[in-house]
């Protein structure tokens, strides 16, 4: 079979078209990928700054220590947080759990309205073996699952070690809420974005305490700079046996608990 020259040119045209369509597709995909990676890197650099050498990636390196023995479950912290940060009702940046370990071995865990109105003495004292309160908040993990999964990098760790959400960049996919093993994140129906504890970033930047630590009547919440050896927090962590929540998950949780018992979830 002899080839018609016209046929050959046509075939070539067709091949060229086919190849160029493929090339363009690959090119566009590559280009978009490249540009966006660059943008992302720039964005992250801008947000994080350059990390310093040392025990902690940054200085100051903010965190909080919780002394479970001191918490009286008055709920002032929850209330102050919700007023300070305009937290929508039914959602909690911080909350208090009450544990009652009964003599029969069962454990009752309660947190009515996150403990915002305190607790009632509604457990039969004779049946209780041990009972205590545990204040909870975002652990500001250093390898936080939530920042890892955010598809647009809207949630990130600042150079001071505080994990916050950029409400103007969050697309509201809620993946971060799913990824938090502590239930610290929630959906903010006012903003239509994910929301969480910021360690009162707006206050600590001014040298103030987070609202919850400020109002705590017994000093059960100790806020401070871990990287400063002289700070009360660093001293507290140095001198006491402390524990983080769910350390097996390797989240790099920063919030330290003193007196954490095995029943705590």
């Amino acid at each position: 079979m002899s080839e018609d020259p016209k046929d050959i040119t046509r075939r070539e045209t067709l091949q060229t078209v086919g190849r160029s369509v493929l090339l363009i597709a690959i090119g566009v995909a590559g280009g978009v990928g490249g540009i966006s990676t660059l943008q992302n890197v720039r964005r992250e650099m801008k947000l994080k700054g350059t990390k310093k050498e040392g025990r902690y990636p940054g200085s100051p390196w903010y965190s909080m220590a919780i002394d479970i023995e001191k918490c009286i479950g008055c709920g002032r912290c929850v209330q102050a947080c919700s007023e300070e940060n305009d937290v929508p009702p039914g959602h909690y940046r911080t909350w208090i759990e009450r544990y009652a370990i009964m003599k029969d071995g069962s454990v009752s865990i309660t947190s009515p309205n996150g403990g915002i109105n305190g607790f009632e003495n509604d457990i039969d004292e004779d049946k209780v073996e041990r009972a205590f309160f545990v204040p909870k908040l975002c652990n500001h993990c250093d390898d936080s699952p939530c920042t890892q999964v955010c598809p647009v990098g809207a949630t990130f760790e600042t150079k001071e070690g505080v994990v916050i959400v950029d409400y103007d960049w969050c697309i509201g996919c809620r993946y971060c809420i799913q990824s938090c093993p502590y239930g610290s994140r929630f959906w903010n129906p006012k903003r239509n974005t994910a929301d969480k504890c910021t360690l009162c970033y707006h206050r600590i930047k001014k040298g103030e305490q987070p609202a919850c630590a400020e109002v705590c009547p017994t000093g059960a919440r100790l806020f401070g700079d871990l990287s400063d050896d002289a700070s009360p927090l660093a001293k507290f962590v140095r001198e006491n046996a402390t524990m983080t929540m769910k350390p097996n998950l390797m989240t790099g949780a920063k919030v330290q608990y003193k007196g954490l018992s095995k029943e705590v979830v």
Partner: protein
């Protein structure tokens, strides 16, 4: 706390709560507006028993070192401030 000291040094001195580090706003509620314009915004002044029992009622899960009273038996007929002075010492009025 510091913010209140400027104008209320008398209240801040020598009281059980303030000495133990209980913040003014823990009892008086958020008072930022008041610090900015004290004439217009007045903070909440606690007066009922419930305002105190929130922190002092006996609850099993409260730590043992912490001073607690059973509101049903601890002088149930009068307000706490009748016998306890908040901003003066001693904490229990004579």
């Amino acid at each position: 706390m510091k913010a209140c000291m400027e104008c209320h040094p008398d209240k801040a001195e020598a009281t059980v709560h303030v000495k133990k580090g209980v913040h003014c706003e823990s009892c008086h509620g958020a008072a930022k507006a008041h610090t900015e314009d004290w004439e217009k915004a007045k903070p909440f002044v606690p007066s009922t028993r419930a305002d105190c029992t929130r922190c002092h009622a006996m609850i099993v899960s409260r730590p043992a070192w912490y001073p607690q009273i059973d509101p049903k038996t601890h002088n149930p007929d009068s307000k706490c401030v009748h016998c306890h002075s908040i901003h003066e010492l001693p904490a229990v009025k004579k």
